[in-house]
């Protein structure tokens, strides 16, 4: 009788697990992300500037401004409590700000890197300095946000920018360095003008599909195998749900910026050649002379190691360091490995340069 009851319970438990798994597949992953308490201190069009509420007494007078890419959502930097770079920095006494570009609408299809680097970023920097009552700041750019941060630094070197942290920031777009993206974005096969003309903003799903196709087995199958495995073994699902939500939360890429990104960066590799001009101002990376921490992942297929490493020979900074982790593009930023390696590294590097 007891054995029969146990079997019955097992069946019920397994059915519940299958139900939970199917619900995720059908409805999509749901998770509370970006929970570190924050305040919006400035907005411009869809962009928002967050100021994270301090949890401990401020130890460092130099605030940190985080800048994310134009694709996907920036809450990956503040994924969930206990798994958030933002929370980690705040808890260690840093004054942290983050620039969220927001979700572009049809009316934003003409926004270019000129708008983002010359209009949005300098204003956000002003607000950061004003709010933090600071004279200097640290700029931390992730992924395409790193490329944008490098361009900003090249155009506005010196005070008030004190430190620059580039995390998996693609700089050199030589076809041999860009892996599959180099082939897919080759001008023989991809016409960004045509796509921008058709869609206005490039749909987030299209961009996501491109990114996921670079590792299709892992992204389309492996991820769900992991999900079922965790569900059936009764392991916590929080991190998986948060990551899965983020992966599927792509946002449109403003058409004009997409054209620039594909044409001038991927197809013509203008940044390393010093040929990018924003409103006539030449983006010369050799003008970067502040302290630079350049972080890359060995397994990163979105920003490959050589793409990020090239920065080291292009900038003039005397205080510069290239830090390589045995991780992928996102794995580098979150999870247990990040807590042990990346976060402490950023902390120790900043501690010395934020007094």
């Amino acid at each position: 009788m007891t054995s029969e009851n146990d079997t019955q319970l097992d069946i019920e438990s397994n059915l519940k697990k299958y139900e939970a798994g199917l619900q995720i597949i059908v409805e999509g992953a749901r998770a509370d992300t970006g929970q570190t308490p924050k305040e919006i201190i400035w907005t411009k069009n869809k962009a928002k500037l967050y100021h994270y509420e301090p949890t401990v007494e401020k130890k460092y007078p130099v605030p940190i401004l985080l800048v994310y890419a134009l694709i996907n959502r920036p809450y990956v930097l503040d994924l969930m409590p206990g798994n958030s770079l933002v929370e980690y920095l705040v808890n260690h006494g840093f004054d942290v700000f983050m620039l969220d570009w927001g979700i572009p609408g049809d009316e934003d299809s003409n926004l270019t890197f000129e708008n983002y680097v010359l209009d949005y970023m300098p204003r956000a920097v002003k607000k950061v300095l004003r709010t933090a009552h600071a004279e200097e700041f640290t700029l931390l750019g992730y992924c395409m946000g790193g490329t944008m941060a490098a361009m900003y630094t090249a155009l506005f070197p010196g005070k008030p920018l004190r430190n620059l942290i580039l995390m998996t920031a693609p700089i050199d777009f030589t076809a041999e360095n860009t892996g599959l993206y180099g082939l897919w974005t080759n001008e023989k096969y991809l016409n960004p003008d045509h796509m921008a003309a058709a869609f206005g903003n490039i749909p987030g799903d299209l961009v996501d599909t491109g990114n996921r196709l670079a590792k299709p087995v892992t992204n389309y199958v492996g991820s769900y195998v992991t999900m079922w495995d965790r569900i059936l073994q009764g392991k916590p699902m929080d991190t998986w749900l948060a990551m899965n939500k983020w992966v599927n939360d792509g946002i449109p890429f403003p058409g004009a910026a997409f054209r620039q990104w594909i044409r001038e960066f991927y197809q013509q590799n203008k940044l390393v050649k010093g040929e990018i001009r924003l409103r006539g101002m030449r983006v010369d990376l050799s003008a970067i002379n502040c302290a630079v921490l350049n972080i890359a992942g060995k397994k990163d297929h979105i920003c490959t190691l050589p793409q990020a490493e090239a920065t080291m020979n292009l900038i003039s900074s005397e205080d510069k360091e290239f830090f390589v982790l045995d991780s992928g593009h996102v794995g580098l930023l979150t999870g247990s490995d990040a807590k042990k390696s990346l976060w402490p590294k950023i902390l120790s590097w900043l501690e010395l340069r934020s007094k």
Binding site: D106, K126, L183, N191, A197, A214, P216, V217, D229, L232
Partner: protein, 316 residues
């Protein structure tokens, strides 16, 4: 609201999609019918897979009539899947050789999964076992395919075709709704652009105010005014000094005038005194008083005293 309208009548956007759908279908059919076409069917990989499931379902229905072990079911399904793939590979229609490679993986994994004789009863564990056994090979093969120029070329043509039809449909939709006197997404976007431009102006004002507050602007701040006050105060003090010096000068002038006046008066007194002296001389001669001494200035200033002496002498 709309910026003019085209002369032609509204085009049904569904027609465009229908046209595109037919073209695409024809394209994929061409591939499936012998691989002579230029395009690759991205779903071709899954067709034999789905077919294998159908076959397995049929076999399971048959088996269900008797008692069958779950592990045996897995084996049957696996064999059915391999059979379906082998059939698909024989039929051709796979320019990239996907089917053949997939079949190779399936056969390779068959030995890995079933050789130990420990086929899990739980379907998920079975699938995971199968995934773990095949994912590396699978990932490599798929990686090779998507990194192949032929694949990219075909995908590019598909995207170009999709983009063209999407653009045409979008225009058709715009015209369609415009002719129906309904606002379109473009109209809303235009309004939103105006709002964004307006916001930009407000931003500039906000920036200017911030600059004023931060002291970055060329306007008089409290510090500047305080400094200016200090400078004015110093200038004022200097002016006061000059003024007082000037006043002193005036006093001197007055003194000089006063002295001059005094001198004139003295001159008059002296003159009068001289006249008086002359008169006294003549009187002394007459009264025989020794007046050989000239009158001193002291005496002159005090003629009365002098007079008293004279009187005393006179008395003596």
């Amino acid at each position: 609201m709309a910026e003019g309208s085209k002369a032609q009548g509204p085009v049904n956007p569904l027609d465009f999609w229908k046209q595109w759908s037919e073209t695409s279908t024809a394209m994929w059919t061409n591939v499936l019918e012998g691989g002579k076409g230029t395009f690759v069917d991205p779903y071709g990989l899954y067709r034999p897979w789905l077919h294998s499931i159908e076959v397995a379902q049929e076999q399971m229905k048959e088996s269900a009539k008797g008692t069958i072990e779950p592990t045996e079911l897995r084996k049957q399904w696996y064999e059915a899947a391999i059979g379906a793939w082998a059939k698909a590979a024989e039929m051709g229609g796979d320019p990239l050789g996907l089917t053949a490679q997939w079949l190779e993986i399936m056969e390779e994994n068959r030995s890995k999964i079933f050789s130990g004789g420990t086929v899990p009863a739980d379907p998920f564990t079975f699938i995971k076992q199968w995934y773990d056994a095949s994912s590396d090979t699978w990932a490599k093969i798929v990686g090779d395919i998507i990194g192949n120029e032929k694949f990219v070329e075909n995908a590019s043509q598909f995207i170009e075709s999709y983009t063209s039809y999407y653009m045409a449909t979008r225009r058709a939709n715009e015209d369609y709704f415009r002719n129906l006197q309904l606002p379109t997404r473009s109209d809303l976007a235009r309004v939103a652009e105006i709002i964004v431009a307006l916001e930009e102006k407000v931003d500039r004002l906000d920036d200017a105010l911030d600059d004023i507050e931060d002291g970055n602007s060329q306007v008089a701040t409290k510090d500047v005014i305080t400094e200016l006050e200090g400078r004015l105060s110093r200038v004022e003090k200097r002016l006061d000094a000059i003024s007082s010096a000037l006043e002193k000068l005036e006093t001197v002038e007055k003194l000089a005038k006063h002295t001059e006046g005094m001198e004139k008066k003295l001159d008059k007194v002296l003159e009068a005194f001289a006249k008086n002296e002359a008169s006294i001389s003549s009187t002394a001669t007459e009264v025989d008083v020794v007046a050989t001494r000239k009158p001193t200035r002291k005496n002159a200033r005090n003629p009365k005293a002098n007079g008293s002496k004279v009187e005393a002498k006179q008395t003596v």
